[in-house]
């Protein structure tokens, strides 16, 4: 039910936003947001912990953050950015067609905060970087430098949230395995993603003036992080 609301809502909102139908966009955005909120509350209700892990919880949490940012944009009369945010939210939802729609079978370690905090910061980074992608897509399609500037700020926010997650993850690893760094695929993948985010923050001004280049470096981190996270979690769940 929650998933159906989120999928249909964000799909309708993206359509309404793209066509300039404000009523449909706002209604669809509200429905999608309500669906994601319902999904997150249902996970907390059934498991007694916050939603933070597994494909279903990931998509619902990212959808929730993205929906809030899109709604804020829509209310601030930035419908182009909102439409792209809803569109990316709608693209994210169908991932759940390939995996069971349920909470992940894991429990919190009583009194230990680093583990859930690591995943929550990752989810915040996923949403902020997808929002950065939406801003850059809107700027590329003519929404102007204001949208690109918002995209850069979102990229900075997403980079920081991801980096903070890495710090918390290092603390978790230090407590669990005895070292703040592990030489494995997971840690190397995080480093690769962190550097990819850094690219968009270090474009020389003359390069940043090229819309296609700004789009590529601004949108790539959000797409890559969400693809890596979801494919990893869906692989683990199978």
């Amino acid at each position: 039910m929650a998933y159906a609301c989120a999928l249909a809502g964000y799909g309708l909102a993206a359509l309404g936003g793209a066509r300039g139908w404000r009523g449909l966009a706002a209604g669809g955005g509200g429905l999608g947001l309500a669906g994601c909120l319902l999904g997150v509350i249902a996970v907390a209700w059934s498991t007694g912990r916050p939603a933070f892990y597994g494909p279903y919880e990931t998509v619902m949490m990212v959808g929730l953050w993205l929906g809030l940012l899109a709604m804020w944009d829509a209310l601030s009369r930035r419908l182009a950015v909102a439409a792209w945010s809803w569109g990316l939210g709608a693209v994210l939802m169908p991932w759940l067609l390939f995996t069971p729609i349920k909470a992940a079978p894991i429990n919190l370690i009583p009194g230990y905060l680093w583990m859930p905090l690591f995943f929550e910061l990752r989810l915040a980074a996923q949403a902020l970087l997808l929002y950065a992608a939406a801003c850059h897509l809107a700027a590329w399609r003519g929404a102007g430098n204001g949208a690109a500037a918002r995209g850069r700020l979102a990229l900075l926010g997403g980079w920081g949230a991801f980096m903070a997650g890495e710090l918390v993850g290092a603390l978790w690893s230090y407590d669990w395995l005895g070292d703040f760094w592990q030489w494995n695929a997971g840690f190397l993948s995080s480093t690769s993603l962190l550097l990819l985010m850094g690219l968009g923050l270090h474009l020389p001004p003359s390069w940043a003036a090229r819309p296609w280049l700004r789009l590529v470096v601004g949108a790539a981190p959000g797409v890559a992080l969400n693809l890596v996270t979801l494919s990893h979690q869906m692989g683990m769940g199978s």
Partner: protein, 264 residues
């Protein structure tokens, strides 16, 4: 100096590192790289070139390439910070300088783990057994305790000769009592549990699992990780400083954006 502090060099080094680390992810489970990653985790690989001859050539190329690219990025980060950011003073640049220097310290702390300290993973000890660590200390297991339900599962799996899967997020169903000594003199003894390590003499002991030996009197052993990371505290302090600078920078940029158009 100008070339080394160039933004284009930073982009080139970062792009190369993105591709290099992605290649490493692809190879992480392959025979070319997996054994090298284990050795890198243990430490001392760089200080013992004799190990290089035994390493797979492709994996060695990857490790040396990673170090070269990481070193190039670190030099660029330092040069850029000391020229462009120091010369053009503003609060924003001061925060950027702090952020860049803190990130540089984090990178250096990572690099230092390759030559300073060590780590040994998944050491299996039965009660009464001990083993000598690379710095001459001896680690002994006095007792390992598992709660009855977890013990039954452990014994059942051991009797079926199944490989016990590592719990995804261990929840602490028991504990182990360990002691540390050097040249016959005891350095200390303590108790470890999941996510509750014990530290003595600069060593950190973590309990990461159990194993069981079935029989008339079943025995529970502990799987331990041991690490000596003298730069762990500076690493976390530098990371925290980077995060503080980032947060202040984000607030500053948000305020500037509210007061006027942000600069790209």
């Amino acid at each position: 100096m100008k070339a080394l502090s160039s933004l284009r060099l930073a982009l080139a080094a970062m792009t190369a590192l993105v591709l290099w680390t992605a290649w490493g992810v692809r190879m992480a489970f392959s025979p070319s790289l997996a054994p090298l990653l284990r050795v890198l985790g243990d430490g001392h690989f760089l200080t013992q070139p004799s190990q290089w001859a035994q390493a797979p050539a492709l994996g060695l190329v990857w490790v040396l390439g990673l170090l070269a690219l990481g070193g190039l990025l670190a030099i660029n980060l330092l040069c850029c910070s000391l020229t462009k950011l120091v010369r053009n003073w503003s609060w924003r640049n001061a925060l950027l300088l702090g952020l860049h220097l803190a990130v540089l310290l984090v990178m250096l702390a990572h690099g230092t783990t390759l030559v300073v300290g060590y780590q040994r993973q998944h050491l299996r000890l039965l009660p009464g057994q001990s083993l000598v660590l690379p710095d001459g200390s001896a680690l002994s297991l006095a007792q390992a305790h598992l709660e009855p339900q977890a013990l039954a599962a452990c014994l059942r799996q051991a009797s079926q000769k199944q490989t016990r899967r590592r719990p995804r997020f261990p929840r602490g169903p028991g504990w182990a009592s360990v002691s540390l000594s050097r040249e016959g003199a005891e350095l200390g003894q303590g108790r470890v549990a999941f996510i509750q390590p014990w530290e003595a003499d600069g060593l950190r002991i973590n309990l990461v699992g159990y194993f069981c030996q079935p029989g008339p009197e079943p025995v529970v052993g502990a799987i331990l990780n041991v690490s000596r990371r003298p730069l762990a505290k500076p690493f976390f302090a530098a990371y925290a400083a980077a995060m503080a600078c980032w947060l202040a920078l984000l607030i500053l940029d948000l305020r500037r954006k509210r007061n006027g158009p942000a600069q790209d």
